[in-house]
């Protein structure tokens, strides 16, 4: 089962995303804060982390700089209202799957799931090692 960690102080902003994940049989863990998310990532194996645009005193993109220090293997996607160019500049080197609009809808969530599946298909050995 694919394990997703959704990081947001407002779960309603990921309503459509969580429905899309559940429709595909995915498992969801929630974190309301950066601290809770990083604690979870140090304890559990996660296939995808999705971060909301603002997480307390940092942006979702800044949060991912901390995530890769804890677990660079985990895949990520961030909500960001930056322009395409500004997002590219800000996310450089973070290796994120895609930029999500605030309150990502069903179609966008489906694209994210499809992108995640493509990456997971290309990394089957590592998935076996990290799957619970």
């Amino acid at each position: 089962m694919i394990h997703h960690l959704l990081v947001t102080p407002d779960r309603s902003s990921f309503a459509d995303l969580s429905l899309a994940i559940e429709a595909r049989g995915g498992f969801i863990s929630w974190a309301d804060s950066v601290h809770q998310a990083l604690t979870s990532l140090s304890k559990i194996n996660v296939d995808l982390v999705v971060a909301d645009e603002t997480l307390g005193d940092m942006t979702g993109l800044e949060f991912f700089k901390r995530v890769i220090a804890v677990n660079p293997m985990v895949n990520g996607a961030a909500v960001s209202s930056l322009s395409k160019e500004a997002y590219h500049e800000s996310s450089e080197g973070l290796g994120l799957l895609m930029q999500l609009a605030p309150n990502p809808g069903k179609a966008e969530s489906e694209r994210l799931m499809a992108n995640l599946n493509r990456v997971l298909q290309l990394t089957p050995a590592k998935r076996q090692e990290t799957s619970r």
């Binding site: 895949n75 450089e92 973070l94 994120l96 290309l122």
Partner: protein, 134 residues
């Protein structure tokens, strides 16, 4: 390096007399150089896999699965760098030379430096034209 396997992101068919690729995620092939007793023992090539956005760990797993010990890049993002380090693959840096052979010779003789955290792409650092963002 006395013993081990070096991977060089390469253009087209690769090989010791081939050209390096400045973009390891998008490179055509990896030239693999086996080093034994401080000398080149064997050279082979490994086809790269499909590169997709966010697929930084694909080459990390590919090279780890093929027993690579060291990689030479022109540039790299922080996530794949951390991934290579976690996989036990040392990442060396040379953003000047396109020929594979002199870079391999320098790595074997200890004249090539490992990439530093402040040389990665992103995080406020300015990548050169040859550097790679994955």
């Amino acid at each position: 390096m006395e013993n081990g396997r070096i991977a060089i992101p390469s253009m087209e068919a690769g090989g010791l007399d081939g050209k390096r690729s400045g973009h390891f995620g998008h490179c055509d092939t990896f030239t693999l150089v086996d080093v034994k007793d401080g000398a080149v023992d064997k050279v082979s090539t490994l086809a790269n896999q499909e590169h997709i956005q966010g697929g930084c760990m694909v080459p990390v797993n590919l090279l780890a699965d093929n027993q690579v010990n060291a990689l030479v890049v022109g540039g790299i993002g922080m996530r794949p760098l951390m991934g290579f380090r976690q996989a036990g693959i040392e990442v060396y840096h040379d953003d000047q030379r396109q020929d594979i052979r002199p870079v391999v010779e320098d790595l074997i003789s200890g004249r090539l430096a490992m990439i530093a955290d402040d040389q990665v792409c992103g995080g406020g650092n300015q990548p050169s034209e040859r550097e790679e963002i994955t």
